[in-house]
């Protein structure tokens, strides 16, 4: 039963597959009742981390505790976790009702108590009218709900979701996202959510960890990660399209980009030197003055417009809030909003504050 706990700690988790290092030493703290997302491209180690938390993989090194108790070597069944798999892993030979009831049966819940619990879980995800169907007779969305119901019916202390929305179509994905969030609120269970879709992570998670190449590159709230990327790697990954990263020079509280000097009001105490300046496409404007750029291609996105341009041969993307005519090959002038410029150290690749 949900007892309000579910604090997960990973320390120095390593996992190798032969010569491939899947996890290179993961440290992570997930707070109780938090909705926590693991975000990263495929092969970055996020799914492996989830499977370590579930107990489906045993780490080669490191420890994992839940509520202070070491579970590094505990069997999955001993951890009181529930998981929704990417392909749902519904038991095809059982009805929806039997699928949802299965964990209860395995948990030794008396047979008479199972149906009401199953019905309740099914109601929560609104599939109580489908109880007697088999997975093969359900739509993708219904299957997904069934998997959700099977996961929540037992009230685990940890709720793990492995790319649960990736097999749904776009429309359904949006709806389900909202529903998942709602479900989390009502259940109050620590939820770990793996996704490669940053928009999903942003909108749904309380906090998130960004994975790259078997390492966590940043942990924080979606706002932190989006607005204060810790390092170049995160900066280059987060955002759609991600930040423009341009080499520049910092001098006297100002950054020099392509010969244009942009004064930064909020950073002045730093010594002069080379930097990498990051700025999101939406924080660039097209104006009469500014850095000259040659337009390569402009894309009409309906409400907004994405302009692909080049500054001194380097690609720059600009998101304009309204659609206007810009011809390919035309030269425009770009203005960077000074208070939205992020600076990174080209050597350590870390953020400069």
């Amino acid at each position: 039963m949900s007892d309000g706990k579910g604090r997960v700690t990973l320390r120095g988790i390593r996992k190798d597959y032969g010569s491939f290092q899947a996890l290179k030493g993961i440290d992570l703290d997930i707070e109780a009742q938090e909705f926590f997302a693991l975000l990263g491209p495929s092969g970055s180690g996020k799914s492996t981390t989830l499977r370590v938390i579930a107990g489906l993989e045993t780490p080669d090194a490191g420890t994992m505790t839940v509520d202070g108790q070491d579970v590094t070597h505990a069997e999955p069944g001993e951890r009181n976790v529930a998981m929704v798999f990417q392909n749902y892993a519904l038991y095809p030979h059982m009805t929806v009702e039997q699928n949802i009831g299965f964990p209860l049966r395995m948990d030794g819940v008396p047979r008479s108590q199972i149906p009401p619990l199953v019905l309740e879980a099914a109601r929560r995800v609104r599939i109580d009218h489908l109880l007697h169907r088999r997975p093969g007779q359900l739509s993708g969305g219904q299957q997904q709900r069934c998997a959700l119901a099977r996961a929540i019916v037992r009230r685990p202390r940890l709720f793990l979701l492995d790319e649960p929305l990736s097999n749904l179509d776009a429309q359904l994905r949006l709806e389900t996202r909202v529903e998942l969030k709602r479900l989390h609120r009502s259940l109050d269970v620590t939820t770990v959510y793996v996704t490669h879709d940053q928009e999903e992570a942003m909108t749904i998670a309380d906090r998130m960890a960004v994975f790259l190449d078997g390492e966590i590159v940043q942990v924080g709230t979606p706002d932190d990660v989006f607005n204060r990327p810790d390092n170049l790697a995160v900066a280059a990954f987060i955002g759609s399209p991600p930040m423009n990263l341009l080499p520049g020079r910092f001098e006297d509280g100002a950054v020099i980009l392509a010969g244009e000097r942009i004064a930064l009001t909020h950073r002045s105490e730093r010594a002069a030197g080379d930097v990498v300046a990051g700025i999101r496409p939406s924080h660039i404007r097209v104006a009469e003055t500014g850095v000259p750029a040659r337009v390569v291609l402009s894309e009409n996105l309906g409400e907004t417009m994405l302009v692909n341009a080049e500054i001194e041969g380097r690609p720059v993307k600009v998101r304009l809030p309204e659609v206007r005519r810009i011809g390919d090959g035309e030269t425009v002038r770009l203005v960077f909003e000074p208070n939205h410029i992020h600076l990174f150290d080209p050597q350590s690749k870390r953020r400069i504050d």
Partner: protein, 286 residues
């Protein structure tokens, strides 16, 4: 209009050619069995008539002789059922868990064990008759059901393991992982989640093991006797030292093969699946 008609005519011609070719091949495959049926309905003199006659006065006497005559194969029928049935049950009970372990679990030396089972399948039966005879004699199991079943197990077991492994490998791993997370033990996962999903595979295995046991001849002759005399041996009562009673032999053989033919027809889909398992893989899981 004319073009459409021409098109239609071309298609008709094509279909006629296709059906003619297919029909010819159909005939080639069906004919020997059909002819055996014809022969079984003839009298012994009629069988030997040349040129062979397609029109004759059919008789069921051969069937009656084969069923209730002096050389009735009915007792052997029972024997075959017992031997094949026991072999099948034991094989499946032993092979399914073993196949699961081979397909899914980490086990030291698994490769070698797999190789060993494959090799045992390749040993020419000719080389095994003598040692089996010696062993069974030592334990007093010559001409016993248990002896025959043990011998058949050595052939059916590697085959069944091999077949079941392909089915087990087809089940997504997430199924078991989900079960483990649902607090199922390894055994429960196997019992509640894996087994029901390989029911089709088990059915195929049952059919093939039964079929092979039923059709076996060499070991049945050498290691069986008055007590264990399967149908394949009993049929030979119509091939005596003095003469071969072809019509009765045909009738007996057809009766002896009838259960297999029925199984073949009834489980046609499963058999095809069994034959194709592993072969069509890569064309999707299901």
């Amino acid at each position: 209009m004319a073009a459409a008609n021409r098109h239609k005519a071309a298609r008709l011609r094509r279909n006629i050619v296709l059906y003619a070719a297919a029909g010819l091949l159909f005939f080639v495959w069906a004919f020997p069995v059909f002819w055996a049926v014809v022969v079984s309905l003839k009298s012994e003199t009629e069988v030997l008539a040349y040129p062979p006659r397609l029109f004759f006065e059919p008789t069921l006497l051969n069937y009656r002789d084969a069923l209730v005559g002096g050389f009735s194969i009915l007792p052997s029928f029972t024997t075959s059922f017992i031997v094949s049935g026991l072999t099948t049950v034991l094989t499946v009970v032993l092979a399914v868990p073993c196949a699961y372990a081979f397909a899914r679990l980490r086990l030291r030396g698994k490769k070698w064990l797999g190789f060993y089972t494959l090799v045992t399948q390749m040993v020419p039966p000719v080389g095994l008759v003598i040692p089996y005879f010696l062993i069974l004699n030592r334990v007093g199991w010559l001409d016993t059901y248990q002896g025959m079943v043990i011998v058949y197990l050595t052939f059916s077991l590697p085959f069944a393991i091999w077949l079941m492994v392909s089915y087990m490998e087809d089940i997504p791993r997430e199924m078991e992982e989900a079960a483990f997370l649902d607090k199922a033990s390894r055994f429960q996962a196997l019992w509640h989640v894996i087994l029901p999903q390989v029911r089709g595979g088990i059915a195929v295995t049952v059919i093939f093991v039964f079929l092979n046991a039923w059709n076996e001849f060499l070991f049945a002759v050498q290691l069986g006797g008055n007590t264990v005399r399967p149908v394949t041996v009993a049929m030979y009562n119509f091939v005596s030292v003095e003469q071969t009673l072809w019509a009765k032999l045909s009738a007996a053989a057809l009766i002896a093969m009838l259960p297999m033919i029925i199984i073949g027809f009834a489980a046609q889909r499963q058999i095809v699946k069994g034959l194709t398992v592993g072969a069509v893989k890569g064309g999707g899981r299901r």
